[in-house]
Symmetry: C2
């Protein structure tokens, strides 16, 4: 009799995650010196093998052009010597950052003689789901390695050849040092099903970190059973209070909107106290106009700036990532707080004011990862906070919030030292 | 024309979670003194109104008997003066614990003059899903309140009248102080669908904490889109190494198994080094026998203890929570580590040894919330660790691991103080 049931084949995702889990056990035991040596070797390997990477990148670019992807996506995808050098430099910067693993975070001596140490340990295996960005491959591999974590990388299929070439180069660097190459896994299966499989891989993946646009992130948040660290989406507000200094308010608002509109900590909506608006809204409009920012406004805004189009409900709920700004005039601080509570994404919010009482209320009452008094929301960033490289900006409240440096990629463990204690 | 589409009614779950979210904003602003006053008022109210609670409890008990639930479940459900006093005492103990909210966890001064404060804040709204245990209602309400969190409670339907009466009493205590009663919400809908709805309530619930048996927890972990803190399941091991002291090994093993077998930090499987087993397995068997522990063993165990039944794969993967113990003889420390990696649930694991090298390896290499050298796994507990009351024992790696005291119910926020800084 012929067995008609074919034995279940292990998928690429499951196979590679299993290898990563085995490697994670070895990784957790590496010394800081070993990990730094590996980072240096990986950085060097990227530069030495840049032609191999650029050749692979040409395949992605050619396919991208064939498929008619946009100029800006092609630009994001393209690699050259300078960009590869920047990736290598990113790895080298990790060398200088303190290694959080093994740090004793707390020591407790109990009356019964038990000595308890709370120690930082790696998370284990990190699953990264991201868009067609070769540089995220290097970032994620480096940050994971420095923290003793294995990583399973699932990048956007448009960058698949570049990412695979980068991972091949990193593998050779690890192999040359006798370190576990399985610590860095790249999923080559471009089908959506490989993402779906990662989302449910409890027991093999310890955490999923999505990086990319809102729909990518929401797919992970809505469908994963593996714990997720939610990153990114930012509908950030700046509130200019009645007592704000005009010059400061202009500088902060223009910086928050126009210095780099494509990023998550850029401002999408400006809230302006009615008293300030009455006097200064034309000055704001002209400063934004000078930066080619398109304005959309509430009724009161339009009363003061007749050429501005009306901002819809949908506009207030949109992360433009572009040279577009909503303006809403509010009568009170409370109205500003309500607007932020309704439309904000818990990312970065700012008040510009000279009123200490209002500043205190804003800092305390706004629920967001980063709340600013008299400074641009654009500072929400691992480097700007002094953490060094970041894996993303968490907009959830569990585990890590705000810019996530190396400690966000760690867990803890209690080691308990006894001499025969039993519980009575 | 008659509109045949009935406007969508807001469910009890959504309505109560929305009220909780509004209350959470007020709760976050309460002082420690106000929160402690409320805890004292709630404790007093439980005692003053014990008859109201006991009457309601009689309804649950009568229904339980009618439905033929087990004696042990009926006992767990039953309330009397002493048990209500214990609940009240639990609330009073929270008063003495330090309030984590508002604590400045880190201060950073940046070269550009930005001053960054990392501050502990409440999570917001906590969803608790638990079994028919009235005491969990009080515990969860108290722990949430002390940390400035609103809570949505969904207890097992067998305790619904008791829980509702308890919540009514707590509400009156809050109302008497003019504090927001909506901070504590109890879901009276006994249908499974009310749990399902809570699992997907992103935007209203900030975290879900399941407390109960493995199937309850797995339902939440597998189906929730709201972030979850996984608690509880414990397949804990004790490994007796070749060099272990016999007396200490016996004391620790008997305590870990038999002092209170029904809890998650009790031992389910004893791993014994072959050298130790050869000499001492009969002594272990007789010590366990004296506590009425049924033994199941591997082949080598049975060779030394012929009356013991064979332990199956399934046995090694079972959390008995009962007077049953698996014994497996292992040839090396590595074999013990492999067994734990395969069957453990990352909860609590112990090595009994006089070999410092092996102890170090075990503490470092075992992946679990609590790893013991020469002490019983039964110590994994908030009170035993000196944290005071606990909301559960986390067996996941994100956010909190091990016994979760008050700080596990907090998040953080960065407050950034500037004087007009913009990003260059």
């Amino acid at each position: 009799m012929i067995d008609k049931v074919k034995p279940q084949e292990t998928s690429e995702v499951r196979r590679k995650a299993t290898l990563a889990k085995v490697a994670a056990k070895q990784l957790a035991l590496l010394t800081t010196a070993q990990k730094n040596e590996a980072l240096e070797a990986m950085a060097t390997a990227l530069i030495v093998n840049e032609l191999e990477i650029i050749d692979a990148n040409q395949l992605d670019l050619a396919r991208g052009k064939e498929n008619g992807i946009s100029e800006s996506l092609l630009d994001r995808l393209a690699l050259n010597s300078a960009r590869i050098a920047a990736m290598a430099e990113g790895l080298r910067q990790l060398i200088d950052l303190p290694d959080p693993i093994g740090e004793v975070l707390e020591q407790i001596d109990r009356p019964n003689g038990l000595h308890i140490k709370k120690v930082a340990v790696p998370l284990g295996v990190i699953g990264m789901i991201y868009e067609a960005r070769p540089n995220v491959t290097v970032d994620a591999a480096g940050l994971s390695f420095k923290t003793g974590n294995a990583v399973v990388l699932r990048g956007g299929s448009a960058a698949i050849d570049s990412c695979q070439a980068i991972v091949n180069v990193l593998h050779r660097a690890l192999a040359s040092l006798g370190l576990p190459v399985d610590a860095i896994q790249f999923i080559a299966d471009p089908r959506r099903s490989s993402v779906d499989e990662m989302l449910k891989l409890n027991g093999l993946l310890d955490v999923l970190i999505p990086r990319g646009g809102a729909s990518l992130i929401q797919n992970v948040v809505q469908n994963a059973t593996v714990p997720v660290i939610e990153t990114g989406a930012g509908i950030c507000h700046t509130f200019i209070d009645a007592s704000a200094d005009l010059e400061m308010a202009l500088a902060i608002a223009v910086n928050a909107k126009a210095q780099r509109p494509s990023v998550c900590n850029a401002m999408e909506t400006l809230l302006v106290h009615a008293e300030f608006a009455k006097q200064h809204l034309p000055a704001i409009a002209s400063a934004m106009g000078a930066k080619s920012v398109e304005l959309r406004g509430c009724e009161q805004t339009i009363a003061l700036l007749p050429n501005v189009h009306e901002a819809t409900e949908q506009d207030f709920a949109t992360e433009y990532n572009d040279y577009i700004l909503n303006i809403r005039v509010v009568a009170t601080l409370d109205e500003a707080l309500d607007h932020i509570a309704r439309y904000g994404t818990l990312h970065s919010e700012c008040i510009v004011t000279n009123d200490e009482h209002n500043a205190r209320r804003f800092l305390q009452e706004v629920d967001a990862a980063a709340v600013y008094h008299n400074a641009s929301t654009r500072f929400t960033d691992g480097f700007e906070f002094g953490f060094g490289a970041e894996i993303g900006i968490s907009t959830q409240k569990l585990h890590a919030r705000g810019p996530m440096g190396l400690p966000a990629l760690t867990s803890v463990k209690y080691n308990i030292y006894g001499h025969g204690q039993v519980r009575g």
